[in-house]
C-alpha cells in the first residue's frame, strides 16, 4: 500500500472516532484554529515555492501536487461538515431548553394573573 493510502485511511478513521466520542466545543474550536494556521503556513509556502506540492505529493506516493491538495481538501471538508453538524445539534438542544423555560414561565404567569 502506498503511503498516501495509509495516511488517508488512518486520517479518516481518527477523525471518525474522534467525532463519535463527542468532542467538547473547546477541542473543536482549537482543532479548527490549528487547521486554519496550518492552512495559511502551507498556502504561503506553496505560493512561494509552487513545486513543493509536487515534491510532497511524490513523497506520499501521489502523482501530482494537485491530487494531494484534493485529498487534503476532501478531508478538511468532511471534518468541517461533521463539526458544524455537531455544533448545530448542540445549539438545537440549548434552544429547546430555553424555549421550554419561556413557555412554562408564561403559563405560570397566566395562572397568577387568573387567580388575582
Amino acid at each position: 500500500m502506498i503511503l498516501i493510502q495509509i495516511f488517508l485511511i488512518v486520517g479518516f478513521l481518527v477523525l471518525l472516532v474522534w467525532l463519535i466520542t463527542n468532542p467538547s466545543s473547546y477541542q473543536m474550536r482549537a482543532l479548527t484554529k490549528i487547521f486554519a494556521i496550518l492552512f495559511f503556513i502551507i498556502a504561503i509556502i506553496t505560493v512561494i515555492f509552487p513545486d513543493t506540492t509536487n515534491d510532497i505529493a511524490h513523497w506520499f506516493g501521489v502523482a501530482r501536487g494537485a491530487d494531494l491538495l484534493l485529498y487534503i481538501l476532501t478531508m478538511a471538508f468532511i471534518f468541517g461538515m461533521f463539526s458544524s453538524y455537531i455544533q448545530e445539534k448542540r445549539l438545537q438542544k440549548r434552544i429547546v431548553i430555553l424555549a421550554r423555560k419561556i413557555a412554562i414561565i408564561e403559563t405560570d404567569q397566566r395562572n397568577i394573573d387568573k387567580s388575582k
Binding site: 463527542n22 424555549a99 421550554r100 419561556i102 403559563t107
Partner: protein, 226 residues
C-alpha cells in the same frame, strides 16, 4: 382516585383541538395542552377549551412538546399518573381511562395503546405495513415487545415521567420512550385501543419518508451519547 394529568402536544390543529380537549376534560380534570409554536389559531382554541395552555415560542417538535408538558406537570407533586395523547382526535379518551385502570391493576410503570391488537379504522395499507415493520424493527433492536410502539397514546407513572427526559425533539421521541423502558427495566404492557384516521388526520400525518430522518437521528444520538 389518584391525580392524573393528560398531556396533549399540539401543532396547527385549530380545527379540532378544542373538541378533542373538551372530550378529554369530560374524563380527566387536569389537561395540559402544549402548543408547539402553531402558526394558526390553536392557542386561542386551547384556552377556550379550558385546558392549561403552554405555548412554545417557536416550533420545537412533538417530543419537545411532550417533555415540556411533563416538566410542567411534575411541578405538582400530587400528580401520580401521566397520559400522552395526540391532538388530532385519532385516539379515543375512553381507551385512556381503561389504560389507567389497567396500569393500576397490574402495578405497571407504563401502558401503551395498540391499534394492532385493537382496532384501526380506515388506515392506508402502506402506512399499516410501514408501522408494522417499524414495530418489528423496534422489538428486535430493543427487546421491548410491543405491537405498536409508535402510538401517541400512553399512560405512565411518576417514576417513569421523572426519568423520561426526552432529548430528541421531533417524532423520534417514540423510540426514545422505548429505550428508556429498556434502560430502566420498567414494567410495561399494552392495551387494545381504537385509532381512527379521519380525513383530517390523514391529511396531517407525517410523511412516511420521515422514517429515514428518524432512523438516522436515532443512530447518531445513540452513538454520540456517552
Amino acid at each position: 382516585m389518584v391525580k392524573v394529568c393528560v398531556i396533549v402536544p399540539c401543532y396547527n390543529e385549530e380545527q379540532v383541538v378544542k373538541k378533542v380537549l373538551q372530550d378529554i376534560k369530560a374524563h380527566f380534570k387536569e389537561v395540559i395542552c402544549v402548543d408547539d409554536g402553531s402558526s394558526d389559531n390553536s392557542g386561542n382554541e386551547i384556552i377556550k377549551s379550558g385546558a392549561t395552555l403552554i405555548e412554545h415560542p417557536i416550533n420545537l417538535g412533538a417530543g419537545a412538546a411532550i417533555q415540556t408538558g411533563i416538566d410542567y406537570a411534575l411541578q405538582d407533586p400530587d400528580v401520580k399518573l401521566f397520559i400522552t395523547i395526540d391532538a388530532d382526535g385519532q385516539h379515543n379518551i375512553k381507551d385512556a381511562v381503561a389504560m389507567v385502570e389497567y396500569l393500576q391493576r397490574h402495578n405497571l410503570d407504563i401502558v401503551f395503546g395498540s391499534r394492532f391488537i385493537g382496532n384501526v379504522e380506515s388506515i392506508h395499507p402502506i402506512k399499516k405495513m410501514f408501522l408494522k415493520i417499524a414495530a418489528l424493527f423496534s422489538t428486535t433492536t430493543t427487546g421491548v415487545k410491543l405491537t405498536d410502539p409508535h402510538i401517541g397514546l400512553r399512560v405512565f407513572n411518576r417514576k417513569f415521567a421523572e426519568n423520561l427526559k426526552l432529548s430528541l425533539p421531533d417524532f423520534t421521541h417514540a423510540s426514545e420512550v422505548i429505550h428508556r423502558i429498556k434502560e430502566g427495566d420498567y414494567k410495561y404492557d399494552e392495551v387494545p385501543v381504537t385509532v381512527t384516521y379521519s380525513d383530517y388526520s390523514k391529511a396531517k400525518g407525517q410523511p412516511m419518508i420521515n422514517a429515514i430522518n428518524i432512523t438516522v437521528d436515532l443512530l447518531i444520538n445513540r452513538i454520540t451519547k456517552k
